[in-house]
């Protein structure tokens, strides 16, 4: 029983840790974007201030589904974060990539449910866009993962990370170059940065799902994005960038992934949603498919 309690405490630590890492990235990211736009930008800890402020505000709810959805959303993503190996260490002992992919969906479902229960069509359009976009990026992503899966005959992220731990030459970037391109394009859509920021799209649907979130709901929304960043950058690092042997290397690699995304975001406009999905299918999809075919036949 004692072991379980210890594990529980560790997991609570991981959940707050993942939020903190994500918020730090968001703050640094805002700073980076600001520098690209030739301005000072907020302090790097700004996201923490924002989130804490959100929790001190009063908030509104439209019904119980909104509460349920928003809790389920962050809960699902934090649960996903438990399965991401951090610095070649998986706290639960297993980190199947299939679980990660599917468990992440519960976060999205919770978010979708919570915000569409608010009854605002803007939020619903945002969600329908997000889900439609999911069709665009999930398929290339899965194809690349499948290429790795048949190479290693394992779906454990830790296996991939350990397999790349022999220096920079053993990174999967070199082994699956096409796949890396596909995943990078898909990643841009996964974190919802331009040209795939359809879900938020302030000028079109006034920030989409966030439209009715206030106070602590908005705070949880921010944390959701933070944990999402943690999970998704962690996924990329474990898949392609050789995992990490220590926590700071891991953080640096994770931020490097996010940094690339932000730099593209800062100089890109937004596609129309159908253009975005078509673009994802044509580019990310074809690279992913080529990688899969290559690995299946010659890999």
């Amino acid at each position: 029983m004692n072991a379980y309690a210890l594990l529980g405490i560790k997991l609570i630590g991981v959940s707050f840790g993942s939020m903190a890492v994500g918020l730090l990235f968001m703050g640094l990211g805002r700073k980076v974007t600001a520098r690209i736009q030739r301005r000072m930008g907020p302090p790097f800890y700004q996201s923490f201030i924002d989130v804490i402020k959100c929790f001190t505000k009063t908030s509104i709810t439209h019904n119980f589904v909104m509460d349920l959805g928003i809790i389920m959303a962050l809960g699902g993503l934090i649960a996903t974060a438990f399965f991401i190996p951090f610095a070649n260490f998986s706290i639960l002992g297993s980190s199947s990539v299939v679980i990660v992919l599917y468990l992440m969906s519960i976060g999205y479902l919770g978010m979708a449910m919570g915000v569409s229960a608010s009854g605002n069509p803007n939020a619903t359009i945002g969600i329908s866009r997000a889900l439609a976009l999911m069709m665009g990026y999930e398929i290339p992503f899965v194809m690349v993962i499948m290429a790795m899966l048949i190479t290693y005959n394992s779906s454990d992220l830790l296996t991939y990370a350990v397999a790349q731990s022999n220096g920079i030459g053993s990174w999967h970037i070199w082994k699956y170059p096409l796949g890396f391109i596909a995943v990078e394009i898909a990643f841009q859509a996964m974190v919802g940065e331009a040209p795939y920021d359809h879900m938020i799209a302030p000028a079109e649907i006034a920030s989409g799902p966030m439209v009715e979130l206030s106070g602590k709901y908005l705070g949880i929304g921010f944390l959701l994005h933070a944990v999402q960043l943690y999970v998704e950058t962690g996924l990329i690092v474990n898949l392609f960038l050789g995992g990490a042997s220590s926590w700071y290397v891991m953080l640096v690699k994770m931020f490097a992934v996010y940094f690339t995304t932000l730099s593209i975001n800062a100089v890109m406009a937004r596609y129309r949603i159908e253009q975005g999905i078509r673009h994802l299918w044509i580019w990310a999809g074809s690279f992913g498919l080529l990688q899969l075919i290559y690995t299946r036949i010659w890999g």
Partner: protein, 626 residues
């Protein structure tokens, strides 16, 4: 109890059903419910009685002695058990559902259908199997076309396809009989497996004839068109049965005949692709295609029952893929998904029936916001879609995970990609259903709608518990598979109450569920310590500062439900989705015309007309085989 129970559970419902045709309608449903309790009781005791069989002999003109045999195999019992349990739940649901309208004789027919179903799962010989199969087709035809013109059209459409399958099956049975000289299923399996190396052409002919029959029943490609007609037009409570149980007959057939044949065939006898015999690979591709088509069609469907019918098609695709891998993991996954699909689709159709019962609407965009007035229905639907989308703490994930593991084992990555596409797409259409029916703005028309009646709610709650249980403790279901696998000549799978082991990794579903619960607990803590919250009215919403009433915008005009995924519609325009449908429409029209012709010949109407057509074709087939 003895083996005489076997004919009882087949014949008693049929006879009672015939008897009930002249009884009061309200009483019918109670008899239906009570008999289902009895049947379920009997069936669950069968297991402990060990192997038993009941034999009945007679002489068929020109072919000699016929041995009809009913018996309990592990596979048959498994299907019998889940179908009887589900039927019991659905019949409880129907008790309340049918309290308002007593228009047609659905209960007696349904009871006969239950008998036929039991017959299919108990048959050990092709004659019994075929008779049960025919009885099932006929009764379900009349339930689907329950008196309304549009429904009857759907019924004809459904029967046309069934009929096509039945013809193929009959031909297959005759060929098999010709070859083996016996009506027994097990000998047919053995013989066909041997023939695959010696008389390959003959064996493949037999296999493909049976496959056509089973595919047609299970709505796999290219027979994926009928559920959207039949499920949508059938009585709302019957749709659950149709989707939960009836669509699985084909799966049962595949498990009964096709999969064992290939399991018994030594490796290397026939050429294989990706480690799978090529006919099975084709089956896998067709199943994956079914999944994709079902998903894409579901995404753009506006009618909630049609949407779920397409979803059923997509899920049967999953099951088909699982079967086609031919591994014990795939076999188990297919069965597991069959069970899960029965539960979650039963739950979804039950909640839709409850919605229809309370509101009378079928077009999704005319609804909205029902979660706030029908919470139990909403939660059933929610858990149903979580399971259907394959999201972890619920049962759907476990079976989907097993299917993927089976695919990874065989390195069938392209099929797996197609399934992933279907899985992501499932998320789209399921969420659409959730939003459009249950979330968003509650129309003033439905402000006074109440929760579903108690028995309906009760059966939905039971379904919810089952889904959760199978999700958190997969071993409850997977533990039952090893008998069946061994009986079918496959290796047992590794599974405990909490975890499953696949080809690439193992998964502890209980752990996943508990860490999810822990994470939700953490978030709940954050939620509680956050600032005060206030509940506002639904129309107190961000409207860019406008007062919606200034612009005559009420809740009905502030709910986005119609054409939900319209932006991505254009992306699928290249898919020739309409072609198959057109072909079937032509076939349907042809059958209808044929039916009309026969009807005009025999004044007694459709039933006689159909039997006439059937008789004619039977004679033709017999003649050909001879």
């Amino acid at each position: 109890m003895t083996s005489n129970m076997l004919p009882f559970i087949v014949i008693a419902p049929v006879l009672l059903g015939l008897l009930m045709l002249s009884m009061p309608k309200r009483l019918n449903w109670w008899i239906f419910f009570l008999l289902n309790i009895v049947l379920a009781g009997v069936i669950f005791t069968l297991k402990s009685k060990g192997a038993m069989s009941f034999t009945f002999q007679w002489t068929l003109f020109g072919t000699g002695k016929v041995v009809q045999k009913l018996g309990v195999t592990p596979l048959g019992w498994f299907f019998l058990a889940i179908s009887s349990a589900a039927t019991l739940l659905f019949s409880m649901f129907s008790l309340d559902f049918n309290d308002k309208k007593h228009s047609t004789a659905i209960a007696p027919l349904w009871l006969m259908l239950v008998g036929a179903t039991n017959g299919i799962f108990l048959s050990q010989d092709w004659i019994s199997f075929f008779i049960s199969w025919e009885l099932m087709s006929w009764t379900s035809l009349f339930i689907i076309g329950h008196g309304k013109t549009s429904s009857f059209k759907a019924g004809i459409y459904y029967y046309a396809l069934s009929f096509f399958g039945t013809m193929a099956m009959m031909a297959g049975i005759w060929l098999l009989f010709h070859r083996t000289g016996s009506w027994e299923i097990s000998s047919g399996v053995l013989k066909t497996a041997q023939d695959l190396s010696s008389h390959r052409g003959f064996a493949l002919t037999v296999l493909s004839l049976f496959t056509v029959a089973f595919l047609a029943k299970s709505a796999l490609f290219p027979f994926h068109m009928w559920p959207q007609m039949a499920h949508a037009e059938a009585p709302d409570d019957f749709s659950a049965y149709l989707s939960g149980i009836m669509i699985k007959y084909g799966v049962y057939g595949l498990l009964l005949f096709i999969v064992p044949v290939f399991a018994l065939t030594p490796r290397g006898t026939i050429k294989s692709i990706s480690g799978v015999p090529w006919p099975m690979y084709i089956l896998a591709v067709m199943s994956a295609l079914t999944s994709v088509i079902g998903t894409v069609m579901a995404i753009f469907t506006n009618d909630m029952k049609k949407l779920m019918a397409w979803s059923t098609v997509a899920n049967v695709g999953y099951i088909g893929v699982g079967l086609a891998t031919g591994t014990s993991l795939g076999y188990a996954a297919a069965m597991f998904h069959t069970v899960n699909h029965m539960m979650f689709k039963g739950g979804i159709f039950a909640s839709l029936a409850a919605v229809k019962y309370r509101t009378g609407e079928r077009e999704m965009h005319r609804l909205g916001g029902l979660a706030y007035v029908m919470p139990i229905t909403f939660f059933t639907f929610l858990l149903g879609i979580i399971a259907a989308a394959g999201i972890p703490p619920l049962s759907g994930f476990n079976s989907k995970w097993m299917i993927f593991q089976a695919l990874f084992e065989k390195k069938m990555v392209f099929v797996a990609t197609a399934l992933f596409f279907a899985s992501t797409g499932a998320f789209l259409y399921l969420f659409r259903g959730l939003h459009t029916i249950f979330l968003g703005q509650l129309s003033p028309r439905f402000r006074n709608v109440k929760e579903a009646p108690p028995l309906m709610s009760l059966s939905m709650i039971v379904l919810m518990i089952l889904m959760l249980a199978a999700g958190i403790f997969p071993g409850l279901v997977t533990g039952r598979f090893n008998d069946i696998l061994v009986a079918a000549g496959l290796n047992p799978i590794k599974t405990t109450l909490y975890s499953m082991t696949g080809s690439t990794t193992s998964i502890n579903s209980t752990l996943v569920a508990s860490v999810f619960a822990l994470a939700v607990g953490v978030v709940f803590f954050l939620f509680v310590i956050g600032g005060r919250k206030r509940r506002v009215k639904m129309m107190d919403n961000y409207t860019c500062g406008e007062d919606p009433l200034d612009w005559n915008v009420g809740p009905d005009r502030y709910h986005y439900g119609y054409d939900f995924y319209q932006p991505i519609k254009g992306l699928f325009s290249w898919m020739p989705l309409g072609v198959v449908e057109k072909g079937y429409n032509a076939l349907g029209r042809f059958m209808e015309r044929l039916g009309n012709l026969v009807t005009s010949i025999s004044a007694d109407g459709t039933r006689l007309g159909w039997s006439f057509v059937l008789g004619v074709i039977l004679i033709i087939v017999i003649g050909v085989v001879k």
